[in-house]
Symmetry: C2
Subunit: 428 residues, 2 copies
């Protein structure tokens, strides 16, 4: 590209009608001339060839991605992570904001992904390392998405649970339980005070525990638990499966009394989530397999914040995400940002319930609550409930007792003195 | 875990019925005791809690993932890439083979992904860095997948093109062309000798060029080109869209004369590809957006080879993948491995046509051909054809001329003396 070609991929933000653009934030490591690399970066993700041969025309004004802001963060002695075939030259870490015309693809998640983290993004000469940090959507674009059907308020209304976190539990053993045993364990956990007993993200419709049989038993157990406790309960059935079976599984599960459904977002695909959102009669809850494969490293891939936004856009009523525990290897600030993306204003989309998870128990509840900074979250232990030495009912009770202690301003130690289920967790 | 617990996640391969297991190859960076970390790694991806509280049982024999082989590659002074909250301790780079029981999830792509690169894989204490390198499937598992409907032979039969590569071209300008202009350009490229004129992966069903209108014009232009040249041609229409629109777009496009369809595999989801595979009347061709976000780094994420296998399993007849050019930043060996995954025996699945791409032209054809080592590949220039100074017909001719030179054992230079379209490319 010559200087004029390059200039065509830069713009003054004030001169653009930003209703026509998404704003994309990237971290880049550029080799060689920075402005040239940035122009190629925009070209590759939009109009790679902006005129027909033999015609005087320029498609860039309407269809070109354009750099609207950039800054050099630092010069680097070497790439943060080595990359094969990377060019030679001076290396600069940069942060860049790109205005990308959404008319190039429209309000469609697969095409949006293709534009913002597709071939163009990852295959620009001179830019071997890229992390997509954030996407901002204009309201007219957001208005084309349905978003969550129930949202936090819808889930709270179903449960009659206000002013406190929502208590989930992942039934364990997660793999191998007969449906009858699974049902008994979930039932006990509801009696102990759980709001939502859920399938593990790895347990779906399998021969030894079909969705049909499991939801049949769990639907009945749920109603029994509701009658006995006087509280509303949710059985969250995992219907992650081939996308052409999801609607059928939804119908079977809901007819049998599953009153929320789990989807592994990336494995089924964000677009399949959106498909089910249009059909569903119950809240949809997303789980996070595969996301870490492209988001863990600070300087490469796609930031989890982007995926949280896309999950809300796709219509998930609750989003299970890596939380604060050390096992989750996620910076605290990043967990907080993901929680914010569930709760922030986002056009007229309902709020999703953030569910930061990972090796939780009665012992971690207060710390999670303080870090979240509000009661608008879901808390999702697994072994912390179902590995409780006194059994799953006691496991669930220990969580509710931990919350009661927080509400009453008591320490866990003092509250545990009169609450043996909690005491056992402290003694473990 | 105690020593006995740990031992439950190790097994002698010869003692297992390997028909019940997938074999997973991982690169891991383990902190602390290696066997303990590996046992946790297996536990997290299978039976995290392998018995009910108060019961004498062990779900690991049937449902546990098990280490069947492991080796320490080296001790490291620090992690290859820094990770937040990583534990402290000695670091070892390891290669490990895990037998994972496929009965835990069945022949379903989303559930397979969840098991082999989900929460368990990326969130094991003491294993901050993981790359899934390969998956081997037993034949009984492969037999549950449909695989490509047409495969290489089907595509060759459609075109009557044997004993040579298949020549694709990505119509450019890729974004912004009116359907009438797009059609004219594709038509010219067919006349010049292209087999397959294709939409860019970023061009799909948009207001300014709807699938209906574009396929209507291209279907007619294709037939006209076939009549004029006497050769069969393919118009490859990109129907990447929300998954609940893909069947409808297939029907419209095929009725209008598009005779192959492009899907951006990861953006729509592998499972959506498999859904369309069951319905399609024409070959399905996959493109690679998003894959680099989790595969470029040597020691983290998922190897492209795994995704190539999954794409073939999902039923793609051809797989466009990052090729040999420097812009693609992919080691040569990795490109070769991906080509092999398309062509290798894989149960009774048909072979997919590998299409290694990236900034190709008449000038790179011989080098690509030599590196592939056979004629069973697709060649897919964009600007190398549609940016040709003499226009798209000449651009396509230059590619065919380059192939003719190879077949005749002539150098490009000497062959170009009597072929001006090729000469222009050499002069560029």
């Amino acid at each position: 590209m010559n200087a004029e070609d390059i200039q065509g991929f830069f713009a003054d933000r004030d001169q653009l009608d930003m209703a026509d653009y998404l704003e994309l934030e990237y971290y880049l490591e550029c080799i060689g001339d920075i402005r040239t690399s940035l122009a190629h970066f925009c070209s590759e993700q939009s109009t790679a060839q902006w005129r027909r041969v033999g015609f005087e025309e320029d498609f860039r004004e309407s269809y070109g991605a354009k750099v609207v802001r950039w800054q050099v963060l630092e010069e680097l002695a070497e790439l943060s992570y080595p990359v094969d075939h990377a060019a030679a030259g001076k290396i600069h870490a940069c942060r860049v904001t790109i205005a990308h015309p959404h008319g190039n693809f429209g309000p469609k998640i697969p095409n949006l992904i293709t534009a913002v983290c597709g071939e163009g993004t990852y295959f620009t000469s001179g830019i071997p390392l890229v992390k997509l940090l954030d996407i901002s959507f204009p309201d007219n674009y957001l208005a084309r998405f349905e978003g969550p059907k129930f949202g936090i308020e819808g889930i709270r209304d179903m449960l009659g649970a206000y002013g406190r976190p929502i208590f989930f539990g992942v039934v364990k053993p997660n793999i191998g339980l007969q449906p009858e045993h699974f049902s008994e364990i979930a039932y006990q956990s509801w009696l102990g005070g759980l709001d939502i007993a859920k399938d593990d993200e790895m347990l779906a419709d399998v021969k030894w525990s079909t969705t049909r049989r499991r939801t049949e038993l769990l639907g009945k157990a749920r109603i029994k638990a509701e009658e006995l406790t006087g509280d509303k309960k949710i059985y969250l059935a995992n219907i992650t499966d081939e996308v052409d079976r999801m609607i059928e599984l939804h119908d079977v599960a809901v007819a049998n009394g599953a009153n929320a459904l789990l989807l592994n977002t990336m494995p089924v695909g964000l677009s399949a989530v959106r498909m089910l959102r249009k059909h569903t009669k119950v809240p949809l809850i997303g789980h996070f397999p595969f996301i870490a494969a492209f988001s863990r490293l600070e300087k490469y891939g796609v930031h989890t914040k982007v995926i949280t936004k896309l999950q809300r856009l796709a219509g998930l009523d609750a989003i299970i995400m890596p939380g604060f525990g050390n096992r989750m290897m996620t910076p605290e600030q990043e967990v907080r940002e993901n929680i914010e993306q569930c709760l922030n204003e986002m056009g007229s989309l309902k709020r999703s319930l953030p569910v930061p998870g990972g090796s939780d128990s009665a012992l971690t509840l207060e710390s999670v609550y303080r870090k979240v900074g509000s009661v608008d979250f879901g808390f999702v232990p697994g072994r912390g409930i179902f590995g409780h030495p006194m059994g799953p009912k006691a496991g669930a009770s220990s969580i509710r007792q931990a919350w009661d202690a927080i509400e009453k301003g008591q320490t866990l130690d003092s509250y545990a003195e009169t609450h043996p289920e909690l005491m056992v967790m402290l003694d473990k």
